[in-house]
Symmetry: D2
Subunit: 391 residues, 4 copies
């Protein structure tokens, strides 16, 4: 739906995500779910034929398909403003996030970037500076923040319904690595075991940053220091595939983050339980349409994703597309990150101010924090599991 | 994605579904989820301003927005073929399905129609004749058939994994009517209590046909006769809001259909359990990403919607868009009905034959059967709960 | 615990239940769980050696072990009052319930009897007359009524928390018959397919009366008439193994009872959902420690079996032995039926009045109703599924 | 049932557990559930009247009720052997476990003792020496090991079905402390915040040792060192009420133990998930009748507590009292610890050897390990969360 003062759809370029790959389809589907954007350009593949084939398949003019990201940007800048893209979505392996995001920001475009934001903290910090300089909209696709009941939980906590938060347990457990032969060149995400391309932490980066960000997003707790124990259980791997991180927060709350990609049969099991002084909350990504509130001595309350119910708050309702009982899921949550970023892109395009620090979507500062989380978990794990500063 | 020998997206018109209404948004989102169609025209509202506003909001040229469905068809027929719509989606109150579908078919267009298909059996049968005459693609949006694990179940049963099916229990239970004041003109779906606009059965039509169709779709059981007991528990209503129907099948299997729209707090609880000679299966729409298989004396098996797992069959895999653990839900299932119909529309447009009787999507014959189910449930209920023929 | 004005434990005789059989162990364990009774006599088996062996194993004086029930009664009557049993528990095949219960009542003893109470309605009615004549305590082990949250639900409804009850769906689904060879003489419960020994309805009697009684116990709804469709799906069986019964109540509420013993992999799945004007309730025997209350537009409330919680009522609390989170289950529920009957036995023994019509435990009138339910379900099923009176 | 070469029931004394208290009732009920023991003596209370009242209520001769444990032992030793107790159950606050167990062992009796075994490691080690010297049976009531599916899991792992165990996550989360006023003298378990009476770790001892023991019992993993972070979130408390402990095992497996008694609304939520090279297993105490086995790429398998199913092993079957679908719970699991200890007591009484190191029930060495776990968790937490040896 074109619900925008711009009176037009936004124009999107996609980096990576060609062919039938998972994450490219997710970005395309999520970005266009509400009819607010058109995919018009892309560097879909490092092979020109494949990039152009993808363009055709995606309904994009093949002349706007490139292999080189800078060429794409140059081409865009040469186009009249009413054709030019509004934003770039970066869905490439980790090590390409930084150069692409940097170039896109410098060219004046808004950026939607996969996580972790960069492979090094210094690069992440440079992106933050660039966002500040350019005023561009920068969203990081910590997509699980887009679930309606995650936003509901965030507002509940911000409004004090849980009292002070004392402890959080978040865990992100997968098992796909049990089915991967690490020696096979075609194995899923081989670059994820290459520190140069992936960054220093594998599972702690791939899923750990999601869990950490989810805690931060929902609770607003400020981390003080982290202690981690990372392990590599899959034979032949260099990087971690399992671990625990304990984050001590500035108010002395504890956050326990557990990550695994080697737990047989677990799929994409991100879950969180939050202990407040007044109540506790729990939520699980694989059954995202319910949120449980508990108070000692009271009935457990199951909150359905239910825009018409008396318990729903503004943030929760705003993130729903369907009535209760009509389950919403991964694509819709992912699209909610896009939608929130689109709102700020429209503001920027129409000259209206947007608050880059306090966004509905995870932003560049969340990206910096995520990269710091990875680096300090690795540092703690390599230094006898000692505490490392997180601020 | 334009994965089509047509080498272009299909062109869609939408009847009804203007404004912020639920079902219109569902049709628009589902139809466009995979990038295979563009909404280009519509009779979105019976008020011209609102119809045009909707057009703008949906990115449709306002000159192709109408209030009168026949005007829309005339306009389309006057356009060059390369602009003309391929199909019409009908998302209006029940009584408009028949005249619109009839006109669309007579004008040569394909039709996607909401359920129940018509308010009278004779009208349903006329549509079936028209589909046969025109060779048009006709899909009925019994959207729950689009869930990957529903299609998985269907193929499992067709291939004999459950043995002969002996009994099925399907239940579709909602509670929203407990929050509706039947005297309030703005109450949701007021036309649903008007037999002229809705047809003779309300809840048995609104949700009962979904449950009945789901049983038929998954099991292929052939109904012989039905006995029903319908009730009206909401004060001030004319039509049913609760009931049970027992269907005896030709192989003497029993299907029990339970429907309610007056069960406090139930949302959209469509569930099914199927007893076969070799195993039983159960599935529930509100948690659509798992299917349970049971065999006496064996471990229960939970099948995740998991395109990479060893238990998935072709039908199940083909209906997945995401890897396991990344939940798919209502929109994706709804889109799968569209997708399957698109495949046949492309065949028709390119002159390839399609089998109108044996479709992946619910078709016009399912529509006839659904309307017969409603009429015979009402007849049984009004005649001392005696058996009424279903074939 | 001897919490009794009698200042002693009650003395129990057991009929049937010798050896390692399931139901005898259940009765012994349940009866003695709270230390309020001692098993002192029995007709454990029709084989004297086996009856005596059982006695020894159960800590009973072998001289008080018999094969013939009347001999047991005679022996008891010959003993001094301070040795004599207080009650007889009857855990035999159905056809023995009536002669044993009759003899026990006539001899002045209290009776705990398995269900269904008798194989014929006339016998059941005779037992009711005998109970009235003798003033004996008579409890029927519809053991599922002993679950704390079942009693909680009963009091909630009695006190009006759900408003008028409009509809109930109860279902009792098992699958063990899928593993039984009906031709094998040792198959579990062979007498259950013999109408002489079992009564006219098999599954409708075995599990259907439990489901029906549970509805009656919790809701107090008064049945008016019943329509049933019973089926036999297991090869070689005479009696029913599957079916549905619709009970129309005097207030026009509908009760749907579904029974099966042929659903692959289902264990002992008794569940109930109750629709009231103000709220709905659901509970499931296999997860008996939670009860769910729903109200349209509100959060679902999960009531744990939690004697310390603010939502628990007197009946619920009184039936708990353990704090919340320490699950209680089948034995404890069964024991609660005994416990309640013990309270009335103590009253009777001390000359205090007890109200035989309005008991915490299922009583002889529930037994009459259960046998009527079986007979009328069979009659309806044999008469073209017509309505049969239930009052 | 007297299934014993002794040809009589065992005789039990109970220390503590008078009145209506929770843990005394649990011990009495569990010990007598199978009719293998009689409670014949006790030091039920430090108040003589109350101790005698308890005796009467429990069916015990009041002359065998004491306030002083040594007096009880002296009285027993003075009795003829055929009256004398076989064992003592100790259900007192922690600090009394050691002197009572020591005295009972020295007097030649078997001991069933609550956990944690002692308040100091040295005392625990002394008990181990005494057990070795006396040859007495000593069982520690880590009652959760008595669940049938826990024993099933243990045998599955011992037989290699999961492959090498790489990681375990166990968590024991309660919330009752949220409802306790720490200043109120009558608050539940006040002695639990007194290091003299409770030992140095509160929640880590109260529930943490259960979780740790459960991991050890099921997996057999050998701990090498532990790192812990304990917190006190309840105002006014001295000791811990929340924490995490990471145990590194000798095979480099990680065990994460999470404990809380301050999580609003959580009841008694002990859960465990075990990652093996070949499969993972998960189980939860509040729903103890199912166990889940997962393998990447396969259907999840839900194992019901089902003595007749093909997946059950000997250990699992032996621990069941009821057929599947008839839930068993806390009392039955607790009784299984007693039952296993009874088997060894009978062996000892009849002069048959029993293996004190390798027992079905948690034994004195588990007790030593549990106290070491507490002490080293506290030490780590007080020393900047450094690793402390566990062997």
């Amino acid at each position: 739906m074109i619900n925008s003062p711009l009176n037009r759809r936004l124009r999107m370029a996609l980096c990576g995500g060609g062919g039938a790959g998972f994450i490219g389809k997710v970005h395309r589907t999520a970005a266009t779910l509400d009819g607010r954007t058109d995919l018009v350009a892309g560097a879909f593949s490092s092979n020109l034929d494949r990039s152009r084939e993808s363009a055709v398949a995606f309904g994009v003019d093949p002349d706007r398909a490139f292999t080189d990201f800078q060429a794409l940007l140059d081409d865009e800048l040469a186009r009249p403003e009413n054709e030019r893209i509004d934003f770039v979505s970066i869905a490439t392996p980790n090590f390409l996030h930084f150069p692409m995001a940097k170039a896109a920001l410098e060219a004046g475009f808004n950026v939607i970037c996969d996580k972790p934001m960069t492979t090094r903290l210094a690069d992440a910090q440079e992106l933050a500076r660039l966002v500040e300089q350019t005023g561009a909209v920068f969203a990081l696709t910590h997509n699980y923040t887009g679930y309606p009941l995650v936003r509901q939980a965030r507002e509940m906590i911000a409004s004090g319904e849980l009292g002070e938060i004392r402890a959080v347990r978040a865990s992100y457990v997968q098992g796909w690595m049990r089915g991967v032969d690490p020696a096979a060149p075609a194995a899923r995400g081989m670059w994820k075991d290459d520190p140069e391309k992936n960054g220093p932490g594998a599972t702690v980066g791939d899923v750990g940053t999601h869990a950490f960000n989810l805690v931060r997003y929902i609770t607003g707790l400020q981390p003080a220091e982290v202690l981690a124990k990372l392990m590599t259980y899959s034979e032949g791997r260099q990087l971690d595939d399992y671990g625990h991180a304990i984050v001590r927060c500035q108010n002395d709350a504890l956050i326990m983050i557990t990550v695994s990609q080697v737990t047989h049969g677990r799929l994409n099991d991100l879950s969180i339980e939050i202990d407040g002084e007044k109540a506790s909350l729990s939520w699980r990504q694989e059954e995202p349409n319910t949120l449980t509130l508990r108070r000692t001595g009271k009935a457990q309350q199951i909150f359905d994703r239910h825009p018409g119910a008396d318990f729903m708050n503004e943030s929760g309702i705003a993130a729903c597309r369907l009535p209760a009982g009509h389950p919403e899921a991964f694509f819709e949550a992912f699209a909610n990150v896009y939608t929130a970023a689109f709102d700020d892109m429209v503001k920027r395009a129409t000259g209206e101010a947007h608050d880059a620090c306090n966004t509905v979507y995870p932003n560049v500062y969340d990206g910096v924090e995520g990269v710091r989380f990875i680096e300090q978990c690795v540092a703690s794990s390599q230094n006898d599991n000692t505490w490392q500063p997180m601020c």
